[in-house]
């Protein structure tokens, strides 16, 4: 699960300048930024789950999961929640940003081949999961049935709506299950928390892998539910986040035990996390 090949040039701490070529409003507090190098290429070629350091020159840098990659671009879905992301949300198309990566390990796309997949996302937690979902669709024959369970606070907080309602349900052997905590727009979807809906949907654990990303409290209760449903810890994959500065395992702060999340993570199975100090 490791990939230490940095593709951003000679010095991994110096960003490449990229153009913002498209900005999509996902929710009132989340936007997706599409970036491309000045010569029209994707800044680097990440595998699902990998990270990129995204910077607004003069403001700051932050680590984000790469939500999607195209032929000649990368997408980052970014929620507004601090000084840097506030400034990023003020950007317009044509602005230049710094991008460096790819960092970290990847979702175990090989080990999951031949299995049914259950992708669970909560809120902005769908952003990292989306890279794997897209990969699975690009290599559709390699994976069995695909279920996507996504929950958000309310209808207006659902990200990637076009994927959720149009693109993904149209894929072969794929079901998308959407739930919101409270139904303020009388949307035609399930209402309730993700863990409860997960139990209601009663997925069978046989030959199935689960990718689970979302707020810590959702992860905790989903894990309880999955255990109840008979899933073992090595069937459940998640991502961790910590504050990061360098992205290459040097600056120190993102460690959990002797692992660095930027380098050895962000992807871990729940079985792997059990062997680490519970400090996240």
């Amino acid at each position: 699960m490791t990939n230490h090949e940095c593709t951003c040039g000679e010095n991994p701490l110096v960003p490449q300048i990229c153009n913002v070529i498209k900005i999509t409003d996902e929710t009132p507090d989340t936007k997706t930024f599409r970036v491309q190098t000045l010569d029209g290429k994707k800044p680097f070629d990440p595998m699902p789950g990998q990270l990129g350091m995204f910077s607004l020159i003069g403001v700051g840098e932050g680590m984000f999961s790469v939500t999607a990659k195209g032929e000649d671009y990368l997408d980052f879905a970014i929620k507004r929640c601090g000084m840097l992301t506030d400034a990023l949300h003020e950007m317009s198309v044509g602005q230049q940003v710094g991008v460096r990566g790819a960092y970290g390990n990847t979702f175990p796309v090989e080990a999951c081949k031949g299995k049914d997949m259950l992708f669970i996302g909560g809120g902005i937690g769908l952003a990292p999961v989306r890279s794997f979902i897209r990969y699975a669709f690009e290599n559709r024959e390699d994976y069995g049935k695909i279920d996507i369970l996504y929950g958000a606070r309310s209808a207006k907080d659902l990200v990637f709506k076009e994927d959720l309602y149009t693109n993904w349900p149209a894929m072969k052997d794929t079901k998308v299950h959407i739930t919101v905590d409270c139904d303020d727009e009388e949307l035609a979807c399930h209402v309730g928390f993700v863990p409860a809906y997960l139990e209601e949907l009663a997925f069978k654990p046989d030959n199935r892998m689960v990718v689970l990303c979302g707020p810590p409290i959702m992860i905790k209760f989903c894990l309880d539910s999955l255990t109840k449903m008979g899933f073992s810890n090595d069937q459940v994959i998640t991502t961790l986040e910590m504050r990061m500065k360098c992205g290459i395992g040097k600056c120190g702060r993102c460690n959990i035990g002797s692992k660095y999340i930027c380098l050895d993570g962000p992807v871990f199975t729940m079985a792997e996390l059990e062997g680490l100090p519970q400090e996240f």
Partner: protein, 338 residues
């Protein structure tokens, strides 16, 4: 070979012509490695300096790249490369080993840190064997020898009126060659030296790596008196954590990195406010575990504590890592509270 002590200044002049020469100096009451010629007095007998020499390789602040912007466009972005030759003269075994530890961090595990590696390539170290120990020295308990630093480029040992001079690497041979006009034939063995402060690391790393240990009461007890001042990380020769920040004026600016400290709450505080290490208990726990367990687990090169004793001597509330080691050593098993 040997160098007469009365030729030391001549040797400094010779070396200072070739490189930026850092020697132990006492400047305004603070002992540290400073450029030869700086205002202050030479402090060859400082044993270990108050400030470690880590800033020769890992400056307290270091510019990384500079840029120019125009409105929302980036006009230029250029990496800043420092390639000055440096010599550290009079460095002790503990500090030499701290460089070995930093090499592991900055030069291995998938990425080479170019800022560090350029400095390392251009650095020659001249170690000097200790002839006395401070009450806080415990390097020999951490597997080091106060009179021999095998990874230094040149090893000096005090023979009274002379220093025995031994090149240990190619860089060291080049330096000894440079000093040749001042050197005399001769040799001598350094007298063995033992630290008076002893700790026993047997089994400590293994106990600390046990996940049960993470929830032990020992952390609350140990961290209680910590005031979170960060002195330990500042004076520690192996504390390498850094922050990356920027400075901008008008349409140009630069990005720099600077020493950071795991003792500060900002260090791990995430956007949105969540902090996985919210109090000093978690922060002290992480620091001691990093020094005594995690580093060994990750790099397999022993402990990240080199036994220099600076944090023991300088902590304003006497939070003493050697007492902590003893306490863990005395635990019946990992995670027990007695």
């Amino acid at each position: 070979m040997k160098l007469a002590k009365n030729k030391l200044q001549q040797a400094f002049d010779l070396m200072a012509k070739e490189a930026n020469l850092l020697v132990p100096m006492k400047i305004e009451g603070v002992t540290k490695f400073a450029p030869w010629g700086a205002e202050g007095e030479l402090a060859m007998d400082a044993v270990n300096t108050l400030l470690p020499p880590k800033d020769a390789l890992f400056p307290q602040t270091e510019k990384m790249y500079k840029y120019k912007t125009r409105l929302t466009q980036v006009e230029s972005l250029e990496e800043i490369k420092e390639t000055d030759k440096q010599i550290i003269f009079g460095i002790r075994s503990c500090d030499i080993h701290s460089i070995d530890c930093m090499d592991e961090v900055f030069l291995t595990r998938g990425y080479v840190d170019s800022f560090y590696s350029r400095k390392k390539e251009n650095l020659t170290t001249v170690a000097i064997g200790c002839t006395k120990v401070l009450p806080t020295c415990f390097c020999d308990s951490m597997g080091l020898n106060p009179v021999a630093a095998p990874t230094a480029d040149v090893q000096l040992n005090d023979l009274g009126d002379y220093y025995a001079v031994k090149a240990q690497t190619e860089k060291g041979e080049a330096l000894v060659n440079l000093l040749k006009p001042l050197l005399e034939e001769g040799d001598g063995e350094a007298a063995a030296l033992e630290c008076t402060l002893k700790v026993n690391m047997d089994g400590v790393q293994k106990k600390l790596m046990n996940v049960k240990m993470f929830e032990s009461d020992i952390w609350q007890e140990t961290a209680q008196k910590c005031i979170g001042c960060g002195t330990c990380t500042y004076v520690c020769p192996t504390c390498y954590c850094f922050d990356i920040e920027g400075k901008e004026c008008g349409n140009e600016g630069y990005k720099f990195r600077c020493w950071d400290s795991c003792m500060f709450s900002e260090y791990t505080r995430m956007a949105g406010g969540h902090n996985p290490r919210p109090s000093k208990k978690e922060r002290v726990r992480n620091r001691f575990l990093h020094k005594l367990a995690y580093f060994e687990d990750r790099y397999g090169k022993g402990s990240l504590c080199v036994g220099c004793g600076r944090c023991v001597a300088d902590c304003p509330v006497d939070l003493d890592i050697t007492m902590f080691i003893d306490k863990v050593g005395a635990l019946k098993e990992a995670g027990s509270n007695d």
